[in-house]
């Protein structure tokens, strides 16, 4: 079995079998990280460009490590809007890079749909490393991988996602993935930070964190950005923490074997209490470790697609 598309633009485009394939391939990849020499020749001679239009530490590093472990030639470009301020369009920037014949482009961009524009008009395989408020597919895949490690399954689990739902690409990718894999998703946040028609996403919307995490198997916390006060979304981070912060007392409502996740970067004391973030239920650093294996799996499978296309 292979992936149907040569791009990974979002979870919305994957079917459950493809998601399963990526997770199983990632299982195999974790074994590589345990070796003394953490390198295989799968992508030798391939060039991967990491093109980041937004600051990112975790995701970019994770992709770089994954690419190096697969022996790809990698090139990371942080476009601090410099070409953009010089008037160059995204398409021109990417076409200039393509003139140097890369095989894949891993892109993070602040505009929703930017990777879809490239997939339509460029030659390279595009991997979406986060587009605006739209999707962050490899995050959802590594989250699913982490959940599966602990729970051995995804279907039937109660997963509570809590935080800034409106602006979150992590929410959107996770909802697509968890729904496709049969989990029950509860989405919780202040009404001001809920997307329109949230129920149509296939989730149970609630503004009560107690209801959301009651008997939950998994709690995923989303980051609250400090600047959200400016759009009148929340009065203060202090009030936010009072209503939606994840505290040890609240965690007690969840299942005894609950796992607590966060895509990072965390705001301690805003959406999550440090005692929870560093506590026994937290799998936050495991998520980071699993990110490398999942991204290796994605790169490996898409490279296979490229080989077929050749």
């Amino acid at each position: 079995m292979t992936l149907k598309s040569r791009h990974l633009l979002g979870i919305a485009d994957l079917d459950p079998e493809e998601i399963g394939l990526i997770l199983e391939t990632a299982d195999a990849m974790t074994e590589i990280a345990a070796r003394p020499i953490k390198k295989v020749p799968a992508l030798r001679g391939r060039t991967v460009v990491n093109l980041f239009f937004e600051p990112s530490t975790r995701t970019r590093t994770s992709f770089e490590v994954a690419e190096k472990r697969l022996s790809a030639d990698t090139l990371s470009i942080a476009v601090a809007q410099s070409s953009v301020t010089k008037g160059e369009t995204l398409l021109d920037t990417v076409r200039n890079l393509e003139a140097m014949a890369p095989d894949m482009i891993v892109m993070r961009h602040g505009s929703s749909g930017a990777p879809h524009l490239l997939a339509r008009l460029c030659r390279s395989a595009i991997i979406n490393a986060g587009d605006g408020m739209h999707e962050h597919p490899t995050q959802a895949l590594l989250d699913a991988f982490t959940i599966r490690e602990h729970k051995k399954r995804l279907d039937g689990l109660k997963v509570a996602i809590v935080g800034d739902l409106l602006h979150s690409r992590v929410l959107r990718s996770n909802v697509h993935l968890l729904n496709k894999m049969g989990a029950n998703v509860w989405a919780c946040g202040p009404t001001t930070l809920m997307p329109s028609d949230l129920a149509r996403f296939g989730v149970r919307p609630t503004a009560s964190i107690d209801e959301a995490i009651d008997e939950a198997d998994v709690i995923m916390m989303l980051r609250i950005q400090h600047e959200r006060m400016h759009g009148h979304f929340i009065p203060s981070t202090r009030e936010y923490f009072t209503l939606f912060g994840l505290t040890p007392a609240r965690v007690a409502r969840a299942k005894p074997d609950v796992i607590i996740m966060h895509p990072g970067p965390m705001n301690r004391g805003v959406e999550i209490d440090s005692d929870v973030a560093d506590g026994p239920y937290s799998v936050i650093l495991e998520q980071v470790a699993n990110g490398v294996a999942v991204r290796m799996a994605v790169l490996y499978l898409l490279a296979g697609q490229e080989a077929q296309a050749d």
């Binding site: 961009h109 749909g113 524009l117 605006g132 959107r172 997307p195 329109s196 759009g231």
Partner: protein, 433 residues
């Protein structure tokens, strides 16, 4: 110079005429409309049975981009696009560079239009200087120069006070105020209709009430001032309700228009057939099915006065960018008639007579323009339509300088046979003459 339109169904709601007639044009004017007019040396256009002879269509909401943005459109290319779409006259928006807030700009537009030929061009002046919402433009001087309406389109009239004064002052001059109805705080930095599709695609939303709140403001001020208030490009169901309620209680100076894309498309177009297609990005945005249906109802029940295209040409480079960086707007002049026939007339929502009202009679009435009727002695602006023509929209073949349309490749039923301005055939069978 005589031209005889022989045969066909003359539909002229203003004159109460609907039937088989010949139309004789002499020296650029309507000379005679009768059952059977002899050719008597005139050039003859044989109008086939089933074709419609209508008073020239008038689009009261177009952006011709000149002066200042000639890479998108010029007055000449816009006027050509208009006649190719069956329009004998257009009213052009003042958000040019510089903004048309001064008789010098109005005169420039009129001079360019006279040189260009094609459709008649009626300038619309800015309400405020630079459309900045700070100081009223010299509306009387602008009227004298040739402006037929005032608006800060592209932006809303900035404050309720400015809107009040503009309605009072323009009311004194007998000229309507057109508002791009939008509450800027609710619109924020939105790029698409606030609804399920934008939420799923992670696009910032513009709620329908961002429009209807401003519609309600305009209606309230029109009612206390008596000034004529025209709602531009209405898109939200709440706005239709507001206008309908106002008309029911007798607000005679309130009128409104709807653009074809708002009665044809919905926000589903953000996802299909192409995700994030910047040719479905316009302001106001494509809204949800309930809003689209409200436009159709308003068109059928008489709430809507005018169909106007909001023809907004943009260069291909400007649209070939990330969705949230692309400019708002699509071209509309050459797709309007096929969409009206296909989606309104053939869909059984309105008759041909109502279609002519929406595209000719009422636009002339709302802006007090000459035309809108084939009266004896009137300038011979005539559009000949074939309701059963098979039309395939080809973006690359549009006469407009810009090709930004979401209707590329659409097969529609109903089209333009010929466009006659002042007795001269300027467009016929797909060719500009």
């Amino acid at each position: 110079m005589k031209l005889l339109l022989k045969g066909g169904r003359v539909v002229d709601p203003a004159a109460g005429r609907d039937g088989e007639f010949d139309v004789l044009i002499e020296d650029g004017r309507i000379a005679r409309i009768a059952k059977s007019v002899p050719a008597d040396g005139a050039d003859v256009i044989a109008v086939k049975p089933g074709w419609i002879v209508a008073p020239g269509l008038i689009d009261i909401h177009v952006h011709l981009r000149e002066p200042g943005q000639e890479h998108k459109e010029t007055i000449a290319t816009g006027a050509a696009s208009a006649v190719a779409g069956g329009f004998t006259a257009v009213a052009c928006m003042p958000n040019t560079d510089p903004v048309n807030d001064h008789p010098g700009v109005t005169q420039l537009i009129l001079r360019k239009a006279a040189e260009a030929g094609g459709a008649r061009v009626y300038p619309i002046g800015a309400v405020s200087i630079g459309s900045r919402g700070e100081q009223l433009a010299e509306l009387a001087a602008q009227k004298a120069a040739g402006c037929v309406a005032f608006t800060d389109d592209g932006r809303p009239v900035a404050t309720a006070l400015l809107m009040r004064r503009a309605l009072e002052y323009a009311g004194m001059l007998g000229v309507p105020i057109v508002d791009h109805c939008e509450d800027p705080s609710l619109k924020g930095d939105g790029v698409a209709h606030e609804g399920f599709h934008a939420a799923r695609l992670g696009l910032r939303g513009i709620p329908g009430v961002a429009e209807s709140i401003a519609v309600e403001r305009g209606i309230a001020l029109a009612e206390i001032t008596g000034g004529a208030f025209h709602v531009a490009h209405m898109s939200a169901r709440q706005s239709v309700r507001a206008v309908r309620d106002a008309k029911m209680r007798g607000a005679r100076t309130v009128t409104c228009e709807v653009a074809p894309h708002h009665f044809v498309l919905t926000d589903e177009a953000l996802e299909t057939p192409i995700r994030y297609d910047t040719n479905v990005k316009m302001n106001p945005p494509l809204r949800e099915a309930a809003d689209r249906d409200a436009m159709l109802e308003g068109i059928a029940d008489g709430t809507v006065d005018v169909i106007a295209t909001d023809h907004a040409p943009h260069h291909a480079d400007e649209k070939l960018v990330e969705f949230d960086r692309a400019p708002f707007g699509i071209v509309g002049l050459e797709t309007c008639v096929p969409l009206v026939f296909d989606r309104l007339v053939h869909a059984g929502r309105i008759g041909i007579r109502r279609a002519v009202e929406l595209l000719s009679t009422n636009p002339a009435r709302v802006f007090h323009l000459p035309g809108g009727s084939l009266a004896d002695g009137a300038a011979a602006d005539v559009t000949i339509l074939d309701p059963d023509a098979r039309v395939v929209v080809r973006a690359a073949e549009l006469k407009s300088k810009s090709k930004n349309t979401p209707f590329d490749g659409w097969e529609l039923k109903g089209g333009v046979v010929a466009t006659i301005v002042g007795g001269t055939v300027v467009y016929r069978n797909g060719q500009l003459l």
